[in-house]
């Protein structure tokens, strides 16, 4: 394959993995996440900001510590480590102890990215690796959700936020709340769609407001920073699967719209599944990947042990990505399937 004439290729080098190397692309993602991040601060106040900062600090410091001195300036300038930290932070509960957010950021970069060889070489989405680690490590803190206190009490910081490192968070009773997905799973009650749309629910810092996340996604699409097939495929397959289930038993299963607007669906589909490093490069592969994610999300949410399945769905399809890439490699013209003349 190495001898093919580049002029004959109709697609931009589908066999090459493109790392998110350009700082410009990173800047676009930062901008796209801005509205949702701002909304998070509006809803959850200073606590959310502190969790985000802790998670970003964990990521950036780890990247700094494990990068050889001479490469530090280059590696840190593209802000990719900070972006990983931000994405991770947006998936965390607002009352999470800050030290846990820091550990999550460090794991995301250390085990999620650097150990594979750095940016562009990792198999799994680093932010989600960090979150998966945190969920398995601190299951109680990671599933303790708080009610939104609103902008009037911006300066509220939860006692659990300020837990000393390695110590247990105090149990919170007064402010605790269930996420829409939790209510769906354990009480079969659906949150009104309008609340999901504007983000007026309990949940992770950055996943409550469907509308603002969608706005960011559209911006990224317009800037051509994301493969539209992935979010569209995820939405379509998740909606179809949950519509079928809804048709079978509307009492037990959530509607398609609820599936799309709740939990980490939008944040994951728009900002994590689309990570070019960990998703397939061919258009056909992108469809396979996306449909797989959408199907798995609904499967895990409805039949699995956890109320939310976005993280595992994406990580599982990340694992399948090299295989999808191999299966969907376009044939070179004039050659047979095996690639020989």
């Amino acid at each position: 394959m190495s001898k093919q004439d580049p002029k004959l290729l109709l697609q931009p080098a589908p066999l090459l993995r493109q790392g998110m190397t350009t700082p410009a692309a990173m800047r676009d993602v930062w901008l796209a996440l801005l509205p949702a991040t701002a909304a998070a601060l509006w809803y959850f106040g200073l606590a959310a900001l502190l969790v985000l900062v802790a998670s970003i600090a964990g990521s950036v410091l780890t990247e700094w510590a494990f990068t050889p001195k001479e490469r530090r300036a280059i590696t840190l300038r593209d802000n990719s480590a900070a972006l990983t930290g931000l994405l991770l932070g947006l998936t965390l509960p607002p009352a999470l102890p800050l030290w846990m957010a820091f550990v999550g950021g460090a794991v995301a970069i250390g085990i999620g990215k650097l150990i594979w060889g750095g940016l562009g070489a990792n198999i799994f989405n680093p932010a989600l690796v960090g979150r998966a680690f945190l969920l398995a490590t601190f299951p109680i803190a990671m599933t303790s959700w708080t009610v939104q206190q609103g902008p009037a009490e911006f300066f509220t910081v939860h006692a659990s936020n300020l837990t000393a490192p390695f110590m247990q968070a105090p149990v919170m009773d007064t402010l605790s709340a269930a996420t829409p997905l939790g209510q769906m799973k354990f009480e079969q009650s659906a949150t009104p769609l309008w609340d999901l749309l504007i983000g007026n629910t309990a949940g992770s810092i950055g996943e409550t407001s469907a509308l603002l996340l969608l706005l960011g996604g559209i911006y990224l699409f317009l800037r051509r920073d994301l493969d539209w097939r992935i979010p569209v495929g995820i939405f379509a397959s998740a909606a179809l699967f949950s519509a079928i289930l809804y048709g079978v038993d509307a009492e037990r299963y959530p509607s398609a719209l609820f599936t799309l607007l709740s939990g980490g669906m939008l944040l994951g589909a728009l900002f994590m599944a689309t990570d070019p490093v960990t998703s397939p490069v061919t258009p056909k592969g992108a469809w396979v990947f996306a449909i797989g994610v959408g199907f798995l999300v609904v499967l895990i949410r409805v039949f699995g042990g956890f109320p939310e399945g976005m993280m595992y769905a994406i990580l599982l399809m990340n694992a399948a990505t090299p295989l999808i890439d191999r299966w969907t490699q376009p044939r070179v013209f004039g050659r047979n399937k095996g690639g020989s003349a």
Binding site: P139, I140, T143, F186, G305
Partner: protein, 219 residues
């Protein structure tokens, strides 16, 4: 190191090979039998003690027990060293030898792996009077509260079984047949309840209000 293998000049006969293996197997067998016999009593005693402790734990005021087996029509008393099976339960008796209640073991899927539950049941009051987990691999710190959380275990100390046991959200327990589930470990809590309901359904009609009288003399 590859040069280290001795070069065999001629193949040994199959008889030699079989004999070598047979001798090795024979000697090994003798050793294993010796160890088995030497440790048999201690192992049996350990097992019996473990079971006794579990039965005494789920049946308050019980100091003696005997094995009972449902033979298709009634409960018969088994000797202590009989092998347990699906139809075996345990009768608990107090100091005076009076029947207190049954201890019933059942297993079923939990959140991660099979959970084995033993619970004490008093047929006269139709009540569960205690529950203990014999075996589980539930998530440490979360699902393992089904036996580490004293408040959860205490749910079963005086629990009605009619129409069946129900796990409700923590703090909302209001009826005699309800238990408070563990926050964050609803699945494990419900698994325990399901396993107990299953066992109760199977045993309810089979258990007479008074079990066969205690047969052995006091220990």
């Amino acid at each position: 190191m590859s040069s280290g293998l001795p070069i065999m000049e001629k193949e040994p006969s199959s008889t030699t090979l079989v004999a070598a293996l047979a001798i090795a197997g024979f000697l090994s067998g003798i050793i294993i039998i010796g160890v088995y016999l030497a440790t048999f009593d201690t192992i049996a005693e350990n097992k019996a003690r473990e079971l006794r402790e579990a039965v005494f734990r789920v049946l308050p005021n019980v100091t003696r027990m005997q094995k009972l087996r449902y033979d298709g029509s009634e409960l018969v008393v088994l000797p202590d060293n009989a092998k347990d099976d699906e139809e075996t339960i345990y009768g608990g008796y107090n100091d005076a030898g009076e029947f207190v209640g049954y201890a019933i073991v059942n297993a079923g899927p939990g959140f991660q792996d099979t959970v084995r539950v033993i619970y004490g049941y008093r047929p006269a009051e139709r009540k569960v009077v205690g529950m203990w987990i014999l075996e589980s691999r539930e998530t440490p710190g979360l699902g393992d509260k089904i036996y580490k959380d004293a408040a959860f275990v205490a749910n079963f100390d005086n629990l009605g079984v009619d129409p069946e046991i129900v796990a409700v959200k923590k703090g909302t327990k209001s009826r005699a047949n309800e238990i408070d589930a563990i926050t964050g470990a609803t699945i494990s809590s419900k698994a325990v309840v399901r396993i107990m309901n299953e066992a109760h359904k199977k045993w309810d009609a089979r258990l007479p209000v008074t079990a066969p009288a205690l047969q052995q003399a006091a220990e």
